[in-house]
């Protein structure tokens, strides 16, 4: 399967197989008009199978938030057809409206318009807690 290389944009590589569409939805890529490819189950020496997303446009989003989905993802920034940066996203300090608080006693359970915000409370344990009720996020 051949997919054109991109000139200016982002390649999100080493996505765990099956998680590609989750990343697509998370970044709300459906709203973009640029060329884009979601490659599922690509073969990988390291992972066996992996998903890849290629976006032929610069994205104005915090890609570090991807660290919550999978810190092993690789982000490649491409400029003039050359990779200028490669990194793994770090766990974000806060994540908003990615996961929902499941505590029935939390204020978010009755006030529907509130954003569901979680703060990183323990980087070693990947632990996030609701900023309102401090309940631990369940993945």
């Amino acid at each position: 399967m051949n997919i054109d290389s991109i000139k200016n944009g982002i390649v999100i590589d080493h996505i765990k197989a099956g998680q590609g569409m989750k990343v697509y939805d998370f970044l709300d890529l459906g709203k973009l008009n640029c060329s884009m490819a979601v490659i599922q189950n690509a073969s990988s020496n390291k992972m066996g199978k992996k998903d890849i997303i290629k976006i032929d446009s610069a994205l104005d989003v915090d890609l570090n938030a991807l660290g919550y989905i999978d810190p092993n993802i690789t982000i490649n920034i491409i400029q003039d057809s050359v990779r200028v940066m490669k990194y793994h996203p770090e766990l974000p300090e806060t994540i908003t409206n990615i996961i929902r608080c499941k505590n029935p006693r939390c204020i978010t359970s009755t006030e529907q318009q509130l954003p569901h915000v979680f703060r990183l409370t323990d980087r070693q344990k990947d632990e996030y807690r609701c900023v309102y009720c401090e309940s631990r996020a369940s993945r």
Partner: protein, 304 residues
């Protein structure tokens, strides 16, 4: 502008300053009686309360300020479905400071996000209740004259009682403090509460028998064992009476013991004990007013 949503919003130094201000208020109340003149406290109580609401209101009146608010959600626009954010934005038009109780955890955090005046959390469900913890600390200071070197017994529901968790966290920073945690197996303190004790090498013991540990205690902090916390009725019936403090049990205690309770009590402290000088739960309720006066002064940045 500051908000007090949990005890974590106050430094150790600030807690000590609040206690010192409260003690000065007790000694020289006249000095403070005009301190908050022309200031208004809004007490927004989305669920009922006796001590907390009335002590906040009494505190503001004794500072020369005025009070407005509601004492149940049904008498506010919350009953019409108004959000916390909109209620707070509205109240900020009328008041200089807000004390808020809400049944949902985190509601005061939402309030603080939208408030242009200081917000004090007066209890959000079973989550945080910082002014109760401040009240407890002031009471210990007044009853004992110190925090250091005390053996503190906590008895009853230690699993769900956030007041107990918060007090353990606040007290464990003082040298020589030792905790005796008395509860049924089903209601033992959660492991995360013991983390600061282990990290700080603070001595503690867990026990299911109140009488056997009573002679060691300088402070006995009683809480209510609630029926709804048990999975079956048999366990509740088996355990409920073992944590009722009676004059017979109290005979085993030190003459200098201080018996505390956040109130309301149901039957966990026999009314016969109320006359005992060691019972300080009603003095504790009074102290709640003084510490709230100190907190209002601090948040309104009033110096006397």
């Amino acid at each position: 502008m500051r908000h007090i949503i949990s005890m974590a919003d106050l430094t150790v130094t600030e807690i000590d300053e609040l206690i010192a201000t409260s003690q000065d208020i007790i000694i020289s109340p006249v000095k403070y009686r005009e301190a908050c003149r022309y200031k208004k406290l809004a007490t927004l109580f989305f669920e009922p309360s006796t001590r907390t609401r009335l002590s906040f209101e009494a505190a503001m009146y004794e500072l020369g300020g005025q009070v407005l608010g509601f004492s149940e959600a049904s008498s506010s626009s919350a009953a019409k479905g108004e959000s916390v954010a909109d209620t707070i934005r509205t109240v900020c038009c009328y008041a200089d400071i807000i004390a808020m109780r809400h049944p949902k955890e985190g509601a005061p955090t939402v309030a603080a996000t939208h408030a242009s005046v200081p917000v004090i959390n007066a209890g959000d469900g079973g989550h945080n209740h910082p002014t109760q913890t401040l009240t407890d600390l002031l009471t210990i200071k007044l009853e004992k004259g110190r925090f250091e070197g005390l053996t503190v017994g906590l008895c009853g529901d230690l699993k769900f009682g956030r007041t107990v968790h918060s007090l353990v966290h606040a007290m464990c920073r003082y040298p020589g403090v030792r905790f005796v945690l008395v509860s049924p197996e089903e209601l033992k303190v959660p492991s995360y509460v013991k983390i600061p004790l282990k990290e700080g090498s603070v001595p503690y013991e867990q026990n299911t028998d109140l009488v056997s540990v009573l002679p060691e205690l300088d402070i006995l902090y009683m809480t209510r064992v609630q029926r709804e916390r048990f999975f079956n009725e048999d366990d509740y019936v088996r355990l409920k009476d073992s944590y009722i403090l009676t004059p017979e049990k109290l005979a085993h205690a030190k003459a200098g013991l201080s018996i505390m309770h956040p109130l309301p009590r149901v039957n966990e402290i026999s009314t016969e004990i109320d006359q005992d000088p060691r019972a300080c739960y009603f003095r504790q309720a009074l102290n709640g007013k003084f510490i709230r006066m100190a907190l209002i002064l601090k948040l309104l940045e009033v110096s006397v």
